[in-house]
């Protein structure tokens, strides 16, 4: 892929749209528990979040395409030389 996904967890609003679009199956199902990206609350009151990619992530970039808060942004890969 010609891009990487940059992460800014402080901007994450906890909407889980990334998990939803990641889990969107060929059969038409949404199943965020099988998503290859996981958003978790890191405080007691569900206000701040961590974002974790599963090793199986194919870097398709759909999560960043749908991320309105810019916690996930698709960036062109920098190549040396």
């Amino acid at each position: 892929m010609a891009w990487k996904i940059s992460l800014n967890e402080a901007r994450c609003t906890g909407c889980r749209i990334c998990e939803m679009i990641c889990s969107w199956s060929d059969e038409g199902g949404f199943d965020p528990s099988r998503s290859l990206i996981t958003v978790e609350s890191i405080d007691e009151k569900d206000a701040h979040f961590s974002i974790r990619f599963d090793p199986g992530c194919k870097n398709c970039g759909l999560c960043a395409t749908y991320c309105a808060s810019k916690a996930l942004v698709k960036e062109k890969e920098q190549r040396d030389g």
Partner: protein
């Protein structure tokens, strides 16, 4: 398949029923809840008795990726109004229910001892809640999550619901609420502390290819809508400044619509610069209209909470006169901990303060403040209400009953059909929104009759028509049936017919509350019945036309209205408190005139005609 979980709390029995046919005819969420309440509650049922039924209905789109598809409606007979009761909340609860495999949870009967319900995918249990009874809502969420798992979403009541405060809310995790009309008291009357849900399954749409296009279209329309930017930036606080500018605040129990220092102390700008830390969103929502507050300076530096919602500001800031945003947030925090509706709690306190100022409470109620803005006094009184202590016991009955027990206080009792009037003074601004205070089926409320072509800054007060506020191209682009567009706006668009728009606005919001999207402006204005028909077809596999969706929405409204008439509603109740008809509203150096009673009655007649309720008109008008 749309599954209803039926829980009989008297006999501790759980059944699952397929209600796809009801969802087909009544769209889902609010619509199905309405049908169940009307069909299964006997006329005259005690709202706080075992015969009332309480239904959580997650909207039909919840669990799919449509923007804002997170909303769940909670419906029962209201102990505050004795009429149709319902409230709506987002967060993650409804999505968890869908991923567990269910769309609705209906609670009947009454448990002999406190219980709570866990829905953990297919496992549904009624469990002992003795250890939770008496806890605040946040402690309840913490305890259930500690015992059952961090990933449970928890709908719970606090002490106010347990003690049957008539405007008790059901809280949605830590900060959300099913706030209005007292559904928390209904839950408390059933000895039910909480409904905790975990779902890790799949939600499938019927037509994947069709849905994929609709999903892209919906995101594009919502995120590119002209209202998206300011809704994300300020949330509901966007209207805080204009309400003051037009003199429509509910200040000091609706005796002043304007404050000189409003913008500097309680406006959206100072909220953004001195309080707001970051944006937060409900499940599947790209708008993220709500915020996390972390106070940046002053004596409350470091205080954190979720908000600020404009309803908190208009209620505690204007209606009760508190000037410090952190103190406004602390008032809403007390309401959340006890589980009380912010609007009714603030309303009943405003009533008590004005009654006290006029010498009607004597020395019997030392807890009631005498001065507007008395933050410590207001906090103490909120707690007295939540605990039903002292005068709080009477105020917990709501304004209507409280005023009936305080001779001479009726003129300060600002409610419609028993429900405390929220956030905006109709003398400050008369429009579809304020007509809706009278016509919406959950009584004195503001969220069910909102025009998708709002004109907040219109200058001329006109009762039947208002000026168009948005460019004609936007009206041409509105997703709305062509015949209604012409009837309401004229051809070419030149005005807004207020009574007809009120009917359309109520039906549009009924569709939104049934399908589970949100009424924030980018959705409310960006998507319409044509979209909902296509999306319903793609999600459910049942064909829908725009006309069928509109008819279903109208049918749902009529069911709610018939329920209210069945429960004793008369046309005399379609009225504002006398203050709005008899007193001018001070505004800067002048005032805004009172509402003319006979003209308001004529507007109502036009509304009922547009609703095709001829019998009601003949019988009562």
């Amino acid at each position: 398949m749309a599954k209803l979980v039926k829980i009989d709390l008297t006999n501790k029995k759980v059944d699952i029923e397929d209600v796809s046919h009801l969802q087909r005819d009544y769209l889902g969420g609010l619509g199905v809840n309405t049908k169940l309440l009307v069909d299964l509650t006997r006329p005259g049922a005690d709202p706080l008795g075992p015969e009332n039924i309480l239904t959580f209905g997650a909207g039909t789109f919840v669990g799919t990726l449509l923007p804002t598809a997170a909303r769940t409606e909670l419906t029962g007979k209201s102990p505050l109004s004795n009429r149709f009761g319902t409230s709506n909340s987002g967060g993650h609860w409804g999505a968890a229910l869908k991923f567990a495999g269910y769309s609705y949870v209906m609670l009947t009967g009454k448990s002999s001892a406190p219980v709570y319900i866990t829905i953990d995918n297919e496992q549904i249990k009624i469990e002992d809640a003795a250890h939770l009874w008496g806890m605040s809502t946040t402690d309840t969420v913490d305890r259930i999550r500690r015992e059952k798992g961090r990933d449970f979403q928890v709908a719970s009541i606090g002490p106010a619901g347990e003690k049957l405060v008539r405007f008790a809310s059901v809280q949605n995790n830590y900060h959300g609420s099913w706030g209005r009309t007292g559904m928390g008291a209904v839950m408390g009357s059933k000895n039910l502390k909480a409904v905790a849900v975990r779902g890790t399954g799949q939600v499938r749409v019927a037509d994947r290819r069709g849905f994929a296009g609709i999903m892209r279209e919906a995101f594009k329309k919502v995120v590119n809508h002209e209202s998206y930017g300011y809704t994300n930036r300020f949330g509901s606080m966007v209207v805080a400044d204009p309400y003051n500018k037009i003199g429509a605040l509910p200040g000091h129990n609706f005796t002043r619509g304007y404050f000189d220092d409003w913008v500097e102390t309680r406006g959206r700008g100072i909220f953004e610069s001195d309080y707001k830390e970051k944006d937060l969103a409900c499940f599947s929502c790209p708008i993220a209209c709500t915020h996390w507050t972390n106070v940046k300076g002053g004596k409350y530096k470091g205080y954190e909470n979720k908000g600020l919602e404009v309803s908190f500001t208009l209620e505690f800031g204007a209606k009760l006169g508190i000037k410090e945003i952190a103190e406004i947030l602390k008032c809403s925090e007390v309401c959340n901990l006890y589980g009380m509706d912010v609007i009714s709690a603030s309303g009943v306190i405003a009533f008590a303060i004005e009654a006290n100022q006029n010498g009607l409470l004597g020395k019997a109620a030392p807890e009631v403040p005498l001065a507007w803005g008395d933050f410590p006094g207001i906090i103490r009184l909120l707690e007295s209400i939540g605990q039903r202590k002292g005068i709080g016991d009477l105020l917990a009955e709501g304004i209507k009953i409280a005023s009936a027990n305080i001779p001479g206080s009726a003129k300060y009792a600002m409610h419609i059909k028993g429900v405390e009037i929220p956030v905006r003074d109709p003398r400050g601004k008369w429009d579809v929104w304020t007509l809706g205070y009278l016509t919406n089926t959950r009584c004195g409320d503001h969220l069910r009759t909102r025009s998708p072509a709002d004109n907040l800054l219109g200058k001329v007060r006109s009762y039947f028509e208002e000026e168009i506020s948005v460019p004609v191209e936007l009206i041409n682009d509105l997703d709305m049936p062509d015949n209604l567009k012409e009837e309401i706006f004229g051809a070419p668009p030149s005005k807004v017919d207020i009574p007809k728009m009120a009917v359309y606005a109520e039906d549009l919001i009924t569709i939104i509350n049934s399908t589970g999207l949100c009424i924030r402006p980018p959705v409310h204005r960006g998507l319409g019945p044509g979209f909902y028909a296509r999306a319903l077809a793609a999600v459910t596999g049942c064909p829908y036309t725009e006309q069928e969706v509109m008819k279903a929405a109208s049918d749902i409204w009529h069911l709610q209205h018939q329920f209210n008439v069945r429960e004793g509603e008369t046309i005399e109740e379609y009225a504002f408190p006398d203050r709005f008809y008899e007193e001018a509203l001070p505004f800067k150096s002048g005032s805004k005139p009172p509402l003319p009673r006979e003209i308001i009655t004529a507007v109502l007649q036009s509304y009922f005609k547009a609703r095709q309720i001829y019998g009601f008109v003949e019988n009562y008008l």
